[in-house]
Amino acid sequence: MNNTEAGSGQYAKRSAFKAMWKQLQKNKGAMIGLVIIGVIVVVAVVSQFAFDYERDIIAQNVANKLQHPSLEHPFGTDALGRDVLGRVAYGARYSLAIGVVSVLIALVVGVVLGAAAGYIGGRFEDVVMRITDIFSAIPSVLLAIAIVSSLGKSTFNLMVAVGVASAPSFVRVARASVLTVRGEEYIESARAIGMHDWKIVLVHILPNCLSQIIVQTTLRVASAIISAASLSFLGLGVPAPAPEWGSMLSEGRAYIRDYNYLMIFPGVAIMLTVLSFNLIGDGLRDALDPKLKR
């Protein structure tokens, strides 16, 4: 082996993100999911400027109520005469915000606790994991209901409730992946060069758990959106008259026989959002596995 080889066929510097993105592009499902999410995000942003909340989204106009879809109201109007298109578009803001923020809460709490439990082990791990067990023994919707009813009904409390309810799964995923990585010889190798524990966790352990955590995050956003919509459907989520998709479903329920579009449009919106996040999550899982690279 000599160095005249240098230059010819040199391996280029590659960033991990670029490599992942290149992989992800090969995955049709993930790309469709990304496009749909992109559209939903654009809609959510545009609706902020296109509609006036007071005038277009919540103002009641009973004379105009329950109109079937038409050119003027492409998605029809609801029982209080509000434009369903505007409300569905505006509702994207709620679902996305709740999904992302609640999962961020769960992510931070869950990964810190789970990684610490996995790395430190011993009594600390036992305590954390038993508490996690207790939390996950309670059905997550029930837990969220309990939290919302004790904290009061507001969008932020809903985020906290959904976040706390999904934290246990992050604790588990983080701990499990830290445990598998911790036993690897390269962790011992890092200790052999005198690296500090916290740096080992940051530089060697978490990057190697990242794929599981990222996948878990994307999939959890999807289920957080469903939980939030369910809570709103039950009247425990975003307070009326805000156009949250779940509460729109609940309001449209009484009219499902004659005015099914009242439920179809918000329902489809929820479905597309959740499906897209799931597709992206699956795509990321494949893209982040270095052994599948080629």
Partner: protein
């Protein structure tokens, strides 16, 4: 003065059934620039010994004196500095390299971590120099471990260990995961490095032909204890301990004529949990007698530099 002095090193693990004696009262000294081969079957505590010397596993008791400093007494800051002098090469080049990091990151990490070089360009130059030293083509600098074969990965592991210019490297079965042809390359590389840089090795292996090739001295371990220790030539020419004899007789001999007798050990290795105070090898030893259950045989120097821990052979030779 010896570079490394290990005195009464012990490592016990607590298990549900009692104390597991992984390393039980090991002592040896090692001169600068020499190689000590540590051989024994799986589970005899040879890897644990290596890790306890580096304090990757905290030893239960005993002293590890490196160049006059007791490593076991160092605080974490002192230990960090000491790690520059004492490095390790791992057995499995597939799990000892972080799959998410490029070759350049992996080799430069010890340099950056210890802060011996701080200037980025000089670190890069040093990485390239190390890659030349261990025979890695420079074009691989931005590749990732999973793109390389076992031999190249092990060269990365060696470059990592060399990067801090250590005086002692513990080689924990560095070739047992590699193909035979590549084993020879890596062993030759290690020998060249020893000649050019005067590095001292502790070479842990279960492969006697490998250990004979590279070692100056060989220590044979059984159940956490050194049962026999001598220079490589002496041990192969004149093995005394029944266990060493059995190990040596297991080496295949390429001859058609009369074969030396093959000594087959009966039974399994004794469980290292809650050991009685007797010769560890007694239950599998064909020469065992009354006195063997009377206590742990002490190490006796039967010839200059040739130590053996066995009641029979010590008496016979003495």
């Amino acid at each position: 003065m010896a570079l490394l002095e290990v005195n009464n090193l012990r490592k016990y693990f607590k298990t549900s059934r009692g104390m597991l004696h992984a390393v039980d009262d090991i002592s040896f000294t090692l001169e600068k620039g020499k190689t000590l081969g540590l051989v024994g079957e799986s589970g005899c505590g040879k890897s644990t010994t290596g890790r306890a010397i580096l304090r990757l596993i905290e030893p239960t008791s005993g002293a590890v004196v490196f160049d006059g400093v007791d490593v076991t007494g160092l605080n974490s800051r002192g230990m960090r500095r000491m790690r520059q002098d004492m490095q390790i090469i791992f057995q499995d080049p597939f799990s000892s390299l972080d799959p998410k990091k490029s070759i350049s990151h992996l080799i430069s990490e010890p340099i950056r971590e210890s802060g011996i070089i701080r200037d980025g360009a000089r670190i890069e130059a040093r990485v390239q120099e190390l890659m030349d030293t261990v025979g890695l083509s420079r074009r691989l600098i931005n590749s990732y471990p999973h793109e390389l074969d076992g031999g190249r990965r092990q060269r990365i592991g060696i470059a990592r260990a060399l990067s801090m210019e250590p005086r002692l490297i513990i080689c924990d079965e560095p070739v047992s995961a590699l193909d035979v042809s590549i084993q020879a390359q890596i062993l030759n590389l290690l020998e060249e490095l020893q000649e050019s840089q005067g590095i001292t090795y502790i070479f842990i292996t279960h492969d006697l032909s490998v250990v004979n090739h590279i070692s100056d001295e060989i220590a044979v371990m059984y159940l956490g204890q050194i049962v026999e220790k001598a220079t490589a030539d002496e041990l192969f020419r004149n093995p005394l301990h029944p266990y060493t004899k059995a190990l040596l007789s297991a080496i295949p001999v390429p001859s058609l004529g009369d074969r030396p007798e093959r000594i087959t050990l009966k039974g399994e290795i004794t469980s290292p949990v809650n050991l009685p105070e007797e010769c560890r090898f007694r239950k599998r030893c064909r020469e065992a007698g009354q006195e063997c259950s009377s206590g742990i045989p002490p190490q006796v120097e039967v010839e200059p530099g040739h130590f053996v821990a066995c009641f029979h052979c010590a008496a016979r030779a003495g």
